[in-house]
């Protein structure tokens, strides 16, 4: 494999971190959104007043 210059390495490092942040932020949004949807559905189905346990 060919050697890499330091500026290229910095770009790769930043790119790697950026992808990790994007993926985990997308997951954060998805998990939070899903929790709300599931909470609303559960409330609708059993009228129990929200996700089991509720927010402390």
């Amino acid at each position: 494999m060919t050697r890499m210059s330091i500026p290229e390495a910095v770009t790769v490092g930043l790119f790697c971190m950026a992808v990790v942040f994007v993926v985990l932020i997308v997951l954060w949004g998805a998990v939070a959104g899903f929790a709300r949807v599931i909470g609303a559905l559960e409330k609708l189905l059993d009228g129990s007043g929200g996700p089991s346990g509720g927010r402390a």
Binding site: M1, T2, R3, M4, S5, I6, E8, A9, V10, V12, G13, L14, F15, C16, M17, V19, V20, F21, V22, V23, L24, I25, V26, L27, W28, A30, V31, A32, F34, A35, I38, G39, L41, E42, P51, S52, G53, G54, R55, A56
Partner: protein, 389 residues
């Protein structure tokens, strides 16, 4: 009579004793030290003991248990492995083909409670920040002359995740598997020594004293949907990470579904134990003197420590940012748990939190970033694999 002495001489010449070299003697000594650390000091004994014994076996000449030279090229010659290989050559195929790390992830998924992460999804940010050491170590490794594929494999030590490090290295730089795996597991065992000074350096006493409010209990539906959601979202975004994330989430689905107790039990006990024996024994066996005793090994060990330290710094800085944004509702100490190493890093956050405020119980709060770090390091490995694989 002469023929008798000839036979004795021939026997001695063909014995392992006559074929011992200084490199094999040094490696036997290193294996002895690691066995001591595993048994007496209890440093990650479940991994270190089979790793060190594998190292011992591989360095006893003429045993023929493993031939690392079979795997140094890009492709595997299965004919040679099956006909001329030893026992550990056959078992090593599971490492080389990336099977064992994925099966270990299946077991980890079945053992992991993602509840704290579901209760506070913002923990994912700390799991991302704690991969900072991967980028830093990569840049330094390139600066000191490592090839990009080797630099990527070394950098992943900063993810503090043994199976991920082995998975990536077996694909990118198999010749460096032994030093990288040993460095990764050794530093994971040393987390209680590495992290606390950095944690105290980067946080104020007031920040360390922050008491966090109790987490809500996620519903069963949330727990069951989570692994499916993560598998679909992450694999669609980053297909190269499918083997690791797919198995991690399958294991977690076994756990949370509640209808496959036997599968969940097998994944988190029998299966993971069997695979751990095969994986660590064969990884240790790749540490043969000629390939292990070279200047690069010292570089790898130093870079691994840098990666660990910077990952801790990254997690703590995101923790401090979240403390600031939430006006003191998040204790930044939980950020350092984002380096994976479940649950050791979370325990360190708990211990440091209690030192500052004995009424502080951070363990469950730290488990959120801790399990987020597992996903984060797998994603980072996927990026490096896509770039250099």
């Amino acid at each position: 009579m002469n023929s008798f002495w000839d036979a004795v001489n021939e026997l001695l010449a063909s014995s392992g004793y006559a074929n011992l070299t200084w490199t094999s003697l040094v490696m036997v000594g290193v294996a002895g030290i690691l066995i001591y650390l595993a048994i007496v000091k209890e440093f990650e004994p479940l991994l270190l003991l089979p790793i060190s014994f594998g190292m011992l076996l591989a360095n006893l000449p003429l045993g023929g248990l493993i031939h690392p030279e079979f795997y140094n090229t890009g492709t595997i010659d299965f004919d040679t492995v099956f006909h001329d290989g030893g026992l550990l050559d056959i078992l090593y195929l599971g490492v080389k083909l990336g099977v064992y790390p994925c099966l270990i992830f299946l077991g980890i998924g079945a053992m992991t409670d993602f509840g704290p992460l579901l209760s506070r999804p913002s923990s994912l940010l700390m799991g991302a920040g704690a991969q900072f050491g991967i980028a830093t170590a990569f840049i330094i490794a390139i600066a000191i002359g490592f090839d990009p594929n080797v630099a990527g494999s070394i950098a992943i030590i900063g993810g503090a995740d043994g199976p991920t490090a082995i998975f990536l290295t077996s694909k990118l730089a198999p010749a460096y598997l032994a030093p990288i795996a040993i460095a990764a597991y050794s530093y994971m065992a040393l987390i209680p020594l590495i992290q606390p000074p950095i944690m105290r350096l980067l946080t104020t006493r007031k920040e360390r004293e922050v008491v966090m409010t109790q987490l809500r209990e996620p519903s069963r539906t949330e727990r069951v949907c989570f692994p499916i959601l993560v598998a679909v979202l992450v694999i669609l975004l980053l297909p190269s990470v499918a083997p690791l994330i797919g198995m991690l989430m399958l294991g977690n689905l076994f756990r949370e579904a509640g209808v496959v107790e036997r599968l969940s039990d097998t994944a988190q006990n029998a299966l993971i134990n069997i695979v751990t024996i095969f994986l660590s024994l064969t990884v240790g066996a790749t540490a043969v003197g000629d390939q292990f005793l070279r200047p690069q090994t010292l570089g790898i060990i130093a870079l691994g420590l840098i990666a660990f330290a910077f990952s801790t710094v990254g997690g703590l800085l995101i923790g401090k940012l979240m403390c600031l944004v939430t006006r003191g509702k998040i204790n930044p100490l939980i950020g350092s748990a984002g380096v994976s190493a479940v649950p050791m890093a979370a325990r360190v956050s708990q211990v440091e939190g209690q030192k500052a405020n004995p009424a502080n119980f951070l363990l469950m709060h730290a488990m959120g970033p801790n399990v987020a770090g597992v996903i984060g390091s797998a994603v980072a490995a996927g990026v490096l694999l896509s770039l250099f694989g």
